[in-house]
Symmetry: C2
């Protein structure tokens, strides 16, 4: 019988500010809730608190909108200065229609508005950017957690992305540390002797989606522990592996 998997919300973290030590905040919140990290846990942390701790906040009022940003703003009913921030976070526009701007970020992530988010940010009109290097953020957080607890864990940084063909957004992994983000079943015999072709499961995205079930959007649950999932440890795997090579991507 495969083991049960548990998704445990991390609550009571409070407002995260630039310069905060996120590992300490998370461990303190866990302890206050009578919880602790265990070896083999996967800690899924929302991008928002990572970005806030790293000071990835911009006041659009301090940004001068380009003529192109003003054009986009007119099409999308969004602020031109906000659009300017989005363009600066983009290396490519994948699709632009109906006021929706799908971009490829400097990291290679494809999402709406380069992940620049106006919600859940304290302090007026400040917007929140994605972490500069989400894999490095995950690795730093993991190292700090391991130093403090002496336990080996994996860390996933998640964000909520839309996708083609299907309604609604789901949580995906934009950064990871300590875990192989993909599980490859290619070449493995299934129970009937058929050799499975090209079944590559994006487990890091599934873990991020599972964590979202205890997070909600307005509940101030910035992290969740996934306990009991037998992930493949990896010291050098990154969430960049989840980005399809643009040359092999029929949709970019």
């Amino acid at each position: 019988m495969p083991p049960e998997v548990r998704i445990i919300p991390v609550t009571g973290v409070g407002e995260v500010r630039p310069g905060d030590d996120l590992a300490s905040l998370l461990l303190g919140a866990l302890e206050a809730g009578g919880q602790a990290l265990e070896a083999g846990d996967v800690l899924v942390v929302t991008q928002k608190v990572v970005s806030k701790a790293e000071g990835r906040l911009v006041d659009p009022a301090e940004v001068e909108p380009s003529p192109f940003a003003q054009q986009i703003a007119a099409q999308s009913r969004k602020d031109a200065r906000y659009q300017e921030v989005v363009l600066r976070e983009s290396r490519r526009i994948v699709k632009m229609a109906n006021g929706v701007l799908i971009t490829e970020t400097h990291h290679g992530l494809v999402c709406a508005n380069s992940g620049v988010d106006e919600s859940n940010v304290a302090g007026g009109r400040v917007v929140c950017l994605l972490p500069e290097d989400p894999d490095a953020s995950a690795a730093r957080l993991r190292a700090a957690l391991q130093t403090a607890t002496g336990r080996t864990v994996a860390v996933i940084i998640s964000d909520t992305f839309g996708r083609p063909w299907r309604e609604g957004q789901v949580n995906v992994a934009i950064g990871c540390a300590g875990i192989a983000p993909l599980t490859d079943f290619a070449g493995i015999d299934d129970p009937y002797g058929y050799t499975m072709q090209a079944t590559l499961i994006a487990v890091a995205d599934e873990l991020a989606s599972a964590a979202e079930l205890v997070m909600g959007k307005i509940d101030r649950v910035p992290a969740a522990i996934v306990r009991g999932y037998p992930y493949a440890p990896s010291e050098d795997a990154t969430a960049r592996r989840l980005q399809r090579d643009p040359r092999a991507d029929l949709f970019r």
Copy 2:
């Protein structure tokens, strides 16, 4: 503190054959494992066992390939009769390149090869189609489970789909019963007073992905219980709500 969510594998179901009573098989396997369905559970069942019970199996040898199926076969290194089965399950070809065939099924699902699967099927070269109406399958299974147990549950039928932009496949919901597949946060104030725009979370897909964590591909775990998730009950919601209207889909 939001409650913990548990993902419990359902094992010991054994080989499912056309005409089998899937509700009885699942409840028997649960009982044998010392488990039982509880009110409020979400039962996620893989498409494969639903299709098998419904007899959605085809022997490609009995299908005459059209000239177009033969053309596709030559490009994809797959069998022309298999491609013919795929074409008959399709109402539109969304993309065709590099030997990959992305289709829209008669249900409106967009996936590789219309979801026609060669793996995990007993009996030679038989292939497995998606259920004819996955929402109806979910509703029938839910009704049978509720009749047998007296408990109100939700049912999701899942399959493993690829997606643009990102590597790897994830489990998504192709059918559901008893649960609203989308949670709408539009117009709700976040903790900072910012009214959230257009945040629609595809919770049924996230539940399907969470269930995959205990399923694996070769472990014969055809179902999982998600326990403790406070889903929005709905007697008439369907997984068709997760299909983006083609007119509003920039990628179809």
